[in-house]
């Protein structure tokens, strides 16, 4: 995988080899021959190299739902400035990058406040960014749905390899139970306060967390019509 991208975020089509921080965590470097990290010299990849940037989107976001959610949060959650490291609107989706200490209180507010009412935890997934700029490679990403207001919200908490603990959300949304077991199993994120954090996909005696980026995919070479096809993670890669 590419070694030069760190976080998700928006991009913008500015030229001239400058760093672009257009409301997202990642910018891009546009340069005649500056496509570092890509084997592409044909121009097919448009010679664009991503450059990571950590920045919040500017308020107002320009997206009605995102602004409504953030305004409501500012009204009812006074510690918002401390709790939220960044708030990013990208492709019409609001992401709150939250400090883990603030997660339980914020979650309860998101669920219970009449102006927010995120009753449904749709999804919780881990993502591993080995080159995260903050050094916290493991991200626990929650997707919330407000059935009352028909809105969606992404809440992201990132933790380092050395202390991969995140407060469990099972007390707020019981459905987080299996999601958190899966993220623990596959990424090694430890959810404190979870009632029974055991492996769910892999066997109980498995070592390692298979969906981390440094965990090999595995596989063996396969003979096919006289040629040998290497396993997928050893084949030629273009990104």
């Amino acid at each position: 995988m590419s070694g030069n991208t760190h976080g998700p975020g928006a991009v913008d089509e500015n030229g001239g080899g400058e760093l672009v921080a257009a409301g997202g965590t990642a910018g891009r470097q546009h340069d005649a021959f500056g496509a570092a990290g890509s084997g592409d010299t044909s121009g097919f990849g448009r010679l664009v190299a991503p450059v990571p940037v950590l920045a919040s989107s500017e308020r107002p976001f320009g997206d009605a739902d995102a602004d409504a959610v953030y305004d409501a949060l500012e009204r009812v959650f006074p510690q918002l400035g401390d709790a939220v490291e960044r708030a990013v609107v990208d492709r019409g989706e609001l992401t709150l990058y939250v400090r883990r200490e603030a997660l339980p209180a914020l979650a309860r507010t998101l669920r219970d406040d009449p102006g927010l009412r995120f009753e449904l935890l749709s999804s919780l997934s881990g993502v591993d960014y080995p080159d995260d700029l903050t050094g916290r490679r493991l991200h626990s990403v929650v997707h919330l749905t407000s059935m009352t207001h028909r809105r969606r919200l992404r809440v992201e908490v990132s933790v380092g390899d050395d202390d991969p603990t995140v407060p469990s959300l099972t007390g707020v949304w019981p459905t987080a139970d299996w999601h958190e077991r899966e993220a623990y199993d596959l990424f090694g994120i430890v959810y404190t306060g979870h009632p029974g954090l055991t492996r769910i996909m892999m066997p109980d005696d498995w070592t390692g967390h298979p969906q981390r980026k440094d965990y090999p995919l595995g596989g063996i070479p396969v003979d096919y019509k006289g040629a040998t096809v290497p396993p997928p993670d050893e084949r030629r890669s273009y990104s």
Partner: protein, 448 residues
């Protein structure tokens, strides 16, 4: 009497008993309790049973561990992971287009939903959502709704079989076969189609399939009436399902349960209506609901949903206009034009003639797209659609490369299966069978 059932054993699956920290643990492989426990073993009041196999999923991929007192279930534990094949991880080592072939195998009774949700995510990342041709979107909706019928029919068939209604099984699979014939004609495969691709569809509809779909639409309402006549008023069917495995709307939301289970509890939450995608807001259809929240209500909701899907398919047929089925951008659109040759489906001769003899540009596009794939701007999106089992969500992350950085499938079966303890604890052992069936889990999606 089993000869060794009262003997101590150290083999994990052999009949006998072993001493453990919590007391003597018996492993039983058959016979009567009295023979197993023998005289004087009256302290064994805690019985743990591995349930099944009763559901197709319990033949090896779903383990139900029940703690029972007599016929009453005191605790249900669900053990999954037996079908974990690392689909999400494998996607990170393929191009954006190749990943479709993996993801279609997740929920194998609704493969087109996996493809659609993933492709909608990739298209949102690419920023080409509004460039998808109208014809491609209409065909997507049409094949999805056909598949919803097929999926509900499998549920009816397997659920009926578990309750001993083998006629329901025969009827369900009979009609499902007709849907699969249609999907085979359209996509080339009965299941695991890899038909919906980022940017559009793999190919256009073949000649004559529209009339075949119309025949199916004319036939199917009579079949649904047949199911009603066979099952809806049937005393045994009702005795097994009415007021059994009740879960109310608040419980559903807390446990994340969506789809027919939630709608049978009275909440008309259907993403096709509440958060529309693929132009569903322009179709005319109703969202069937029920108030009881029991297994029978879930049965009725699914049966009615089949009728609503027929309505949508009919509207799709009326909307089909000639046109492209793949996005116009040649840097994204899969280049090959497929046709059936002597050795099966492959690139059409016309396409090969074009790239090898006529157009250098077309050759470059073909070569680059097939070997390297296209790049997707960095970012992350979450797309949710209404699959036959509930909210199917895709969290897709790109780092700007030619391969997905992360694909997470929020599979409705995975989440809904969590509700089974709430449905079954405190009830009878026989109702566990109904409870698991009424949730309609597909373990390919649960374990991925």
């Amino acid at each position: 009497m089993t000869p060794n059932s009262t003997q101590q054993t150290h083999q994990p699956y052999e009949a006998g008993y072993a001493e453990s920290a919590s007391g003597r643990v018996y492993t039983v492989t058959g016979g009567d309790w009295e023979d197993v426990l023998g005289a004087g073993e009256q302290d064994a009041e805690r019985i743990v049973v591995n349930m099944g196999p009763q559901h197709p999923s319990t033949h090896g991929v779903l383990r139900l561990v029940l703690e029972i007192e007599g016929e009453t279930v005191t605790e249900t534990r669900i053990v999954i992971g037996y079908l974990h094949t690392g689909i999400e991880k494998s996607c990170e080592y393929r191009t954006w287009t190749q990943a479709v072939t993996f993801l279609t195998r997740a929920d194998y009774l609704a493969p087109l939903y996996n493809e659609a949700a993933y492709c909608l995510s990739v298209e949102k990342l690419l920023g080409i959502t509004d460039q998808i041709p109208e014809r491609a979107t209409v065909i997507r909706v049409m094949v999805m709704e056909l598949q919803r019928i097929a999926s509900h029919l499998v549920w009816l068939a397997t659920g009926g079989m578990e309750l001993g209604a083998t006629t329901a099984m025969i009827f369900g699979f009979r009609e499902r076969e007709k849907v699969l014939d249609l999907l085979e004609a359209i996509t080339g495969l009965r299941m695991n189609h890899a038909f919906i691709r980022p940017g559009g569809l793999a190919q256009d509809l073949p000649d004559g399939v529209e009339s075949a779909i119309r025949e199916f639409l004319a036939d199917m309402p009579k079949r649904i009436q047949e199911y009603h006549r066979l099952l809806t008023g049937q005393p045994i069917w009702k005795a097994r399902m009415v007021d059994v495995n009740i879960l109310d709307a608040a419980g559903c939301i807390a446990l994340g349960t969506t789809g027919p289970v939630l709608r049978a509890a009275g909440l008309p939450w259907d993403l096709r209506k509440t958060m529309p995608y693929c132009g569903y807001e322009t179709y005319e259809f109703d969202v069937p609901t029920a108030l009881e929240g029991d297994s029978f209500a879930r049965y009725l909701v699914r049966l009615e949903e089949m009728g609503e899907s027929l309505r949508i398919v009919e509207q799709c047929l009326a909307r089909l206009r000639p046109g492209p089925v793949m996005v116009a951008d040649k840097k994204i659109a899969w280049p090959a034009q497929l046709s059936i040759g002597a050795d099966g489906m492959g690139n059409s001769l016309a396409h090969i003639r074009n790239i090898m003899g006529t157009s250098m540009e077309a050759l470059i596009h073909h070569f680059k797209l097939v070997t390297e794939g296209f790049r997707v701007p960095a970012g992350q999106v979450y797309t949710q659609i209404e699959s036959p089992r509930g909210e199917l969500g895709y969290h897709v992350v790109s780092d700007g490369g030619t391969r997905p950085f992360r694909v997470h499938v929020r599979d409705p079966s995975f989440v809904n299966l969590q509700a089974v303890p709430a449905l079954t604890e405190g009830g009878q052992v026989a109702d566990v069978i109904v409870g698991v069936a009424s949730v309609d889990p597909v373990l390919g999606g649960v374990d991925r």
